[in-house]
Structures are given as C-alpha cells and as structure tokens.
C-alpha cells in the first residue's frame, strides 16, 4: 500500500484538517456545520468548497434538516471516508519509516 500515491482528495492541508476532525469524532456521529467551522477556524465559504469536493468523492455525507424551524446542516464521515483516512495515515507512517 505504501507504494501507492497519497490520496489527492485527502492530501491537501485544508481537506486533511476537515477529514482528520471528522475522523476524530465517534463512528456514526455527525457534526453541525457551524461547530465544524469553529473547530477548523475556516470561513463558511472555504469549508463549503472543501466539503463539496469530499462529498463528490463520497468521503462525507451532508444532511440538511430542520430543528424546530431552523435549518441545520450536519456533516458526517462516510465508511469510505474513514477507510480512506486510515489508509492515508498508514501511508504517512510508512513514509516516515514506521515512526508513529
């Protein structure tokens, strides 16, 4: 696996930060867009752009819903996204010669 190129969807600073944050949440957890934005210190526009790219790769799923009358957007790492992130971190470790 370590010979393969690093996943270009994840291997970009901003998206890596998004994926790493989502992966740190519990499996099956989703996070509201504004809370995710605060954890990342990103602008809404910037975060939306990167989320769209991740959604196209089917690494995140985005749910739009209502809580009372307020529209809320939730973001969740998909199974494929978690798998891709795990493979990516393994590749990084392998590149660094097994240094954890």
């Amino acid at each position: 696996m370590s010979d393969d190129a690093l996943d270009p969807v994840i291997h970009a600073q901003a998206r890596l930060r998004v994926v790493a944050t989502l992966a740190a949440l519990g499996r099956g957890d989703r996070i509201a867009f504004p809370r995710l934005q605060r954890l990342l210190d990103m602008t809404a526009g910037n975060l939306s752009t990167h989320l769209r790219r991740l959604e196209e790769a089917e690494y995140v799923s985005i749910t739009k819903t209502y809580e009372g009358r307020t529209p809320v957007t939730y973001v969740e790492l998909t199974g494929a996204g978690r798998l891709a992130f795990e493979r990516y971190t393994e590749q990084l470790r392998a590149l660094l010669g097994g240094v954890s």
């Binding site: 270009p8 600073q13 949440l25 099956g28 957890d29 996070i31 809370r35 954890l39 971190t89």
Partner: protein, 218 residues
C-alpha cells in the same frame, strides 16, 4: 494557518508526511473538545463531596445529627455539581448528533433514575421503622453506590480509566462507610470518596495537559 488554505485549494500541494501527521494530531486534540472532560467533572464532584460531607461530619460530631445549615450546604453543592455536569456536557457536545449523543442521553437518564430509586428505597426503609441512624447510613451508602456504578458504566462506555477506577473505589468506600456509623460515615465519604476523586482528577488533568503540551508541534 488559514492563509495556507487558499494556496492548497488553488492546487499547491507541498505537504510533507511529518507535517500531515502533525495536522492530524492537532485536529484530533481540537476535536477532543467535543467530549466532556471526565477530569473536570470528577473534580467538581470530588470538591462537592469533600466540602459537603465535611460539613455534615463537622456538624454531626456532637450529637450524631447533621445541622440544618450543613445539610442545606451539602444538598446545595450536590445540585451545583449536577448543574455543572449537565451544563459542561451540553456545552461540549453542542452540534454533535448521532451515536454518541444517543449514548450520552441514555447514560444521562440513568442518573435521575438511580437517585429516584435511592430515594424510594430510603423512604421504604424509614417507613418500615428503621431508626434515624439506619436511615442515614442507608441513604448515604446507597447514594454512593448509585454514583459508583454509574461511574463504572461511564468508564466502560467511553473507555475512561479514571472514571472506571474511581467508580470501583467509590463502591468500596460506600461499603466501608456503612460500617463507620454516624457521624464517621460522613468523614469516610468526604475524605475517601470526595478527597480521592479530587486528587485523582487533578493528577489525570495535569497529565493530560502535559501530554498535550509535549505533543504540540515544536
């Protein structure tokens, strides 16, 4: 770091593996702020027990019955600790839905259930003709047992060794306190229960802070 994001989104890709692992680590620590701190919660409870039970013991030393002021202080501290726990947990987990929110809600619901059962049992014991001393010992130990087992359950659920270990310890203290008699039972609960919880939470909290400082990129 937000200035780099634009560079990345325009196609620059100069991330080296060490830097990437650093980013992952940093965001993992950031995301940890969506979980309640068990060190903070057990610290608050430890302090409440230490002071509350300490006051009960001090006021019950002469005639074996806690004074009204001490009882009010102990109950008030308990209410403050509950409110602080609920607020802290809600604040940390706002905006998070899904599996852990459901787990947290189910777990949280077990607390009022446990204390309602404790109240009913104590009421039943009193109704069956137990002396005030028996009622005091039972009320004390059963409440501590409820806390102990819920700590154990929380520790098992979230893999929090501090919570689990403290639960085991408080269960044993609850058993020992039942033999201490009034008013010594309050002293045992305050020092061995609250005091130990406070010290353990400080040690774990400081260790976590040191680990975070050591893990931060130089």
């Amino acid at each position: 770091m937000s200035s780099d994001e634009d560079a990345v989104s325009t196609g620059r890709d100069g991330l080296d593996p060490r830097e990437a692992l650093g980013i992952i680590d940093q965001q993992r620590r950031r995301a940890a702020t969506t979980e309640p701190s068990s060190a903070l919660i057990t610290g608050a409870w430890g302090a409440a027990w230490l002071v509350g039970y300490g006051a009960l013991w001090a006021s019950a030393r002469d005639d074996g019955t806690p004074g009204v002021a001490a009882a009010a202080l102990a109950i008030g501290l308990g209410v403050v600790a509950v409110a602080a726990t609920v607020w802290h947990t809600a604040h940390r987990s706002r905006g998070i839905r899904g599996v852990s929110a459901v787990e947290g809600a189910l777990y949280g619901f077990a607390w009022p259930v446990g204390f309602t059962a404790q109240g009913l049992i104590v009421g039943g014991i009193a109704g069956a003709g137990a002396s005030p001393e028996v009622v005091a010992v039972a009320a004390n130990s059963i409440a501590a047992l409820v806390v102990a087992l819920l700590y154990v359950a929380g520790g098992a659920l979230w893999h929090e060794r501090l919570l689990y270990g403290l639960g085991v310890w408080i269960a044993l203290v609850a058993g020992a306190a039942a033999f201490a008699g009034v008013p010594c039972t309050y002293l045992v609960m305050g020092l061995a229960g609250g005091g130990v919880a406070l010290v353990a939470s400080l040690v774990v909290g400081l260790r976590a802070r040191r680990a975070a400082a050591a893990g931060a990129p130089a």
